[in-house]
Symmetry: C2
Subunit: 229 residues, 2 copies
């Protein structure tokens, strides 16, 4: 069987996909909290018990999209050259995400779960998980540096701040553009990500930066980033 994936793995992937599809469909139709695991299972053509073999809860099933999104970002990050400044790597990784295919599921999920406490919990967890992953990635990168003692505080503070800035950019973007995925909207998102990382890179030195989602990068872009733009 010269396929890359065995039949078993294909079936599992299909089932997993069917579950998340069903969950998203129900979320669209009924709104958050207004449907049960049993309905998801029925809609996905499986038993209630099998659902729990794949996901530990409804929120986990939905949060798998966020996880996919963030794993994608992390993959981008790991591919950056090791001698690049971390902030620049993060900026580049985040930039890859301002892409219709990538943000579409997340954008919709965000608009649908905006005001729901239970669901946004899982989102928080996903972001936190990504933070931990970035810490690992950054630690590995520094570990390549011989003789350098890795400063755990620096790592954690930096990774947390990067994620916070990415999250802030997406929050502002959602608030401004909703689920709009037009090129103009995505350009806004890119600029927000750039600006957020710029603020971070410059130590948040400008309390009132000149705002403008237009083509001109705001004054907040730092020397460090300007070098590369």
């Amino acid at each position: 069987m010269p396929e890359l994936l065995s039949r078993r793995e294909l079936n599992k992937a299909a089932t997993r996909q069917a579950i998340t599809d069903a969950a998203l469909t129900l979320l669209r139709a009924q709104g958050p909290g207004n449907f049960t695991v049993e309905e998801i299972a029925e809609s996905a053509g499986i038993s209630r018990r099998t659902f729990f073999n794949y996901f530990s809860s409804t929120e986990a099933a939905l949060a798998s999209m966020t996880h996919g999104f963030l794993d994608n970002a992390l993959q981008q990050f790991r591919q950056r050259p090791a001698d690049e400044p971390i902030l620049e790597s993060a900026r580049a990784a985040l930039m890859q995400l301002a892409d219709p295919m990538t943000v579409a599921p997340l954008a919709e999920l965000f608009t649908l779960t905006q005001d729901n406490a239970v669901l946004s919990r899982s989102e928080l967890e996903a972001w936190d998980h990504c933070t931990e992953e970035i810490i690992s990635a950054a630690r590995e990168r520094f570990a390549g540096n011989p003789g350098a003692v890795v400063d755990e505080l620096y790592l954690r503070a930096l990774a947390g701040s990067v994620i916070s800035c990415g999250k802030a950019a997406m929050d502002v973007w959602f608030a401004q553009c909703g689920a709009d995925l037009s090129p103009a909207s995505l350009a806004v998102l890119r600029q927000l990500l750039i600006d957020a990382m710029g603020h971070l890179g410059s130590g948040f030195g400008h309390p009132v930066p000149a705002a403008g989602p237009s083509a001109t990068p705001t004054t907040a872009t730092t020397h460090l980033l300007k070098e590369r733009l």
Copy 2:
């Protein structure tokens, strides 16, 4: 009866306290996830239903301690002069928390729930809630500035980063010192908070941090740690 608190309010506060005490006691004795709401209620001398009148879940009851801790920090933040740089206000507010009475409950809670997924969720939620509160506080502060358009991205990125750095400092502290609340340990915590805010204020320019605003932060930290280990 011109008491500051009516009998009703006193009773409610006492019940609330009894619940959190009971939950913490059970957490100590049985470990996370190994006790039920019914046990908490019984131990607190109330009915199961009454428990849910106070807290929506076991985790919520335990997370109320974290909320208290962070509300305290927020209160400190709001009391800072409005013309002070935000980062300095945040640093000062966080500094007030490196106090035995304040961190003690949080430290124990942290060590007890270290490896528990469900409980750390509520902790995440508490930190996120505090972030939102800081955003509000900072927005109010800027709103006092006439004619200034508040940059939502700046606010959210900054608040998120500040919280992330505070969290990073506490994570590192817990990892290094456990639940140790000795003066030396608290000094380490203070220094970690200072260093984290220093990193943030300098745009994370130094992979191996060297210069701080005063004295020699990093060496001071390691020195203190060496003393204890």
